[in-house]
Symmetry: D2
């Protein structure tokens, strides 16, 4: 790191994931300093106090107007992301936005255009790309050790038991907010290939009573790529054993697998057999991935380079998600929009 | 085992898998004795000599006429299975037939009826049901530890590099001969549920030049069950790292995973990192499963009980395979025939 | 296998391990037939009935006199082994004797001489040499992948909770009956090297109340070999998680590790985390090793070759055990007798 | 973290490990700031430039005199540690000192007394205590899941091939600098127990030519504790497969194992079988442990609490090391000095 001054970050959205991100950037990201927290609730005050942050605001406008803010982390509810990206870019702020960046292709285009016009870094929160296993897998693929990818798999299962109110989960969430990680991971692991066609099967197996309201909690999505590779993405909202994020790439030259649910390297051998602890929170399981994406974001800002996960990447993953929503509804394979 | 006399078995088909089966039943299955080998080629003579078997025949007829043969193992090419099952049953012989028992539902019905009428044991070679991991998984499921199955996975990848002549592989082989194992395994692991609808994507990724002739070497098949479970079966003909057979059942109460490619319990740590040997042959990887199915077959005969894998089981797996063939060809989801 | 007639075996000692061995040789060892069972208790009758064996005797004499017995399996209490080996050899029977073959070097010499004079095969029950992991490890060593062994480890822990009566366990048992496996395994894994010096630490940690009577249930033994390798053997009588048999060989070229407590390839992911079943019995954990040693024994008899585990091997392991007993008692390092 | 001002740290010793530590404290430890680097070589200047540190000094004196330094990290050669600890404490600076804190018990006492008198935090660099697996193991032990520890194991193997000049490695290094980690780890994992007696076997197996000069590169040390537990510590300077740090605690209630050589969660399946990458550097394998110890150090300073690894802990581990040196030389078991 050179003698450049630190990147001054404002957090917009002090919920669970925002608070975790804030702690990481405040304490563990070289060259970054957290200068402001925005949230309409008292979460903002608590978080700012915890992290020695002086500026607390109720709305994004106030913080985007500050000249002492270089960049923002947007961790508000999904449907607000695009407008905030556009607004922040217009204010000349670099933008890290949690996934999904947008929930329509038009919005994705709008966000991409805004960042481009403003000349700011726009990075999207696809954390798999910074998880050690996924980095290593991509390296192995780039090195030719896997050959041409033919069969891919990406799994995301949230820890259970599921206790949320289905009525408060917008339709499409399993595709737009959960599987979007897998869709991006599959693209990341099949470099150079484009998704072509999507077949999705989804159901409300955890809460069948909520299905009539459009709630879906279990899904299997098949993605066909233009290099022939066939990928399966799979999600469920209630893995009793903990947070489960895995990947597999099988190719003409071999296979890589990655991901597990371990929190530590300890194995316990007791009267019930062999036991290994699992992680209950993404912020534990993927801590180094989250940290890695913020370090990359700050580096891109300081070095004037492109983000490692771009708005275009987000648009591609969104294209798969939208096709999956369509396919799940119609029972037909759906072509991915260009 | 009681004082009953041994079950006298004849092998029909002394190819690679038949020879392996013969060695197991001749030497390692209590209560069984191999008394005849049938094959039109000199394989029969070699095998009989190796295993101290006195009777060698060129055709099934001769051996089915012998009163000193109680049961047959049919390991001839797939398309000959049904006729041999019917013929053997008619001759009053118990039948173990390698998968697939039949390649049409009518043939499956014919085989089932023949065995029923003759009152003989009819067992089909779905070896997964006798693999230790699969047995344990099913026990865990039966014990309620997995809850209701929601997401299942079954993988079969043959060891590579692929060196066969695609022209000698009948169309549909990946579904009827390879994935049929996975289809049966998925039914075994989702007890009580029936397959409802199938979506298949298949391609010739290993030998794209052979695709025009109907050759398919890579497939992903999604099976929806009537209890809501969504299953994925996956196959490929060229896993460079060895024979790969795995399974996963995720349910409302937890998950079981099973299968790996290990040949031994040894791990090697060398200059290239940590290395674990893999199995190159199904007869190594699944040896205990093969042995288990023959022990079960002989036990069923001696104890007058039903086979653990029945003609009806084979018919259900076949129904999935036929739907998958249809789906792969049409690009549409296909209902499984009753 | 050629047209030779089967090897006719008599079991001497129908206790737990004898019964397990009998079932294996009766049903799963090609070229072998179990023709007699000897035991002073009704165990003999029950076992013979289970396995369709016609001859039941109360004493070894009767069975050794039979011309229709080619070989014996000696599975009586340890202190009776040598006399039975000598007696069986004198009767011209091939001998498989459970470890320890002898508990004094003089007895070991006596057994070796008797077998030599009679020209019979003498094999000792060191099962590690037939366990898949150990076979693979030795192959890796022979192939030079480990380089020169420098640090070795062998662990044997019996499943707990410990419930035996310490008063019925002869002094020295942990060395002469349990660790003797590890001593032999260490020699097997350090081919060509000879044990030189032994340091043993042992205690009654499970039943400290029995220590005054000479009972020892936990031991760590260091063995220095003449090629510089330093080995640690470790035993305990009460592993709550199951039967635990492991090995490790570290050398100038790499490391091999082997052994685990798995009964199946299934992994269970439940609310408590990830769980793997363990084996509670040696006859489960080491089944293929037990089977392998009997197959090797019968092959040696039929082919007229030397046993794969000889009386000399047993004498070397015994030398280590005796030095360990001495060292544990004196607190000094003890040279291994030639 | 509260509004306290950051802890200002000076690094004394800018070698390999010092540079790694500096990067961690400069960039990844909340509440810390690196303000000075001390080293007689140009390493100091390079490191300071990399990390935006303004003050570079050639000797510790200069930096200890600065009022704007709150604490020091001592990463100089082992034999200089004690004097620097005493000097830094006398200057009122909190001290983090790499292991070993001292190489004689008198020096250990001197260091402890100096810190006590000055009222400064004194923490020793036993990183195992902060490695996730070891933390989890200790928690399991504290929770009673392991019962009373009976058999312990700690392994440290440096990555090979060994390329150092043995003549530049002081005698006793394998005990005082390598195994000292294991000795401390064993005490950490056997809480409340004290080491009683030590038996060490050591040799120059990697460089036998250097043995005459007192060089030892391979060692096995047995430590008996006053609660009956028997522990084995094992070290070697040339593990071809990478850095190898492992632990095992077996007790009356179960077992925990921890440690491996993984750098990532990726597994590669290729033509040679299954492969897993290993770590070649302690700073990779133990990165989170190193980070954890600095976070703990800074927290202790800010919160006025005791260090998590104290001078007394270092003295106990040193006592074992000195006994091991004695035992290796004499071939006798040696009592640990009080």
């Amino acid at each position: 790191m050179s003698k450049k001054s630190p990147v001054r970050l404002a957090l917009i959205g002090a919920g669970r994931i925002g608070s975790s991100h804030a702690e990481l950037v405040a304490n563990h990201v070289p060259g970054a300093t957290l200068v402001a927290v925005v949230d309409p609730t008292p979460n903002a005050d608590r978080l700012a106090a915890d992290l020695d942050v002086d500026v607390v605001e109720r709305s994004a406008d106030a913080v985007l107007a500050r000249p002492d803010v270089d960049a923002v982390l947007i961790t508000t509810p999904a449907r607000t992301h695009t407008d905030l990206v556009v607004q922040a870019a217009a204010a000349g702020k670099h933008v890290f936005v949690e996934k999904p960046m947008a929930v329509t292709l038009a919005d994705a285009d709008r966000a991409i255009a805004a960042a481009k016009e403003a000349g700011v870094v726009l990075q999207v929160g696809f954390n798999r790309r910074f998880a050690p296993g996924w980095i290593a897998a991509r390296s192995a693929i780039d090195a030719g050790r896997v050959g041409t990818p033919q069969l891919l798999r990406s799994v995301t299962r949230d820890p259970g038991p599921f206790s949320a109110d289905p009525a408060r989960i917008p339709p499409g969430t399993i595709f737009l907010e959960t599987l979007i990680h897998d869709f991006d991971a599959l693209c990341f692991l099949n470099p150079g290939a484009r998704p072509k066609r999507v077949t999705a099967i989804a159901d409300a197996l955890i809460r069948p009573d909520a299905k009539a309201d459009g709630h879906l909690d279990t899904a299997v999505v098949t993605v066909e790529f233009d290099n022939g590779a066939i990928a399966v993405a799979e999600a469920n909202f209630s893995a009793l054993y903990g947070y489960d994020v895995r990947g597999e790439v099988f190719g003409s030259g071999g296979m890589v697998t990655m991901g597990d649910s371990l929190t530590s390297n300890m194995t316990y051998y007791g009267p019930e057999g062999i036991g290994i602890d699992t992680a209950r929170r993404d912020t534990d399981l993927l801590r180094s991935a989250y940290l890695g994406e913020f370090i990359a974001f700050v580096d891109a800002i300081r070095n004037g380079t492109q983000a490692q996960v771009t708005g275009e990447d987000a648009r591609i993953a969104l294209g798969i998600a939208l096709a999956a929503i369509d396919s799940a509804a119609t029972g037909q394979a759906v072509e991915v929009s260009a």
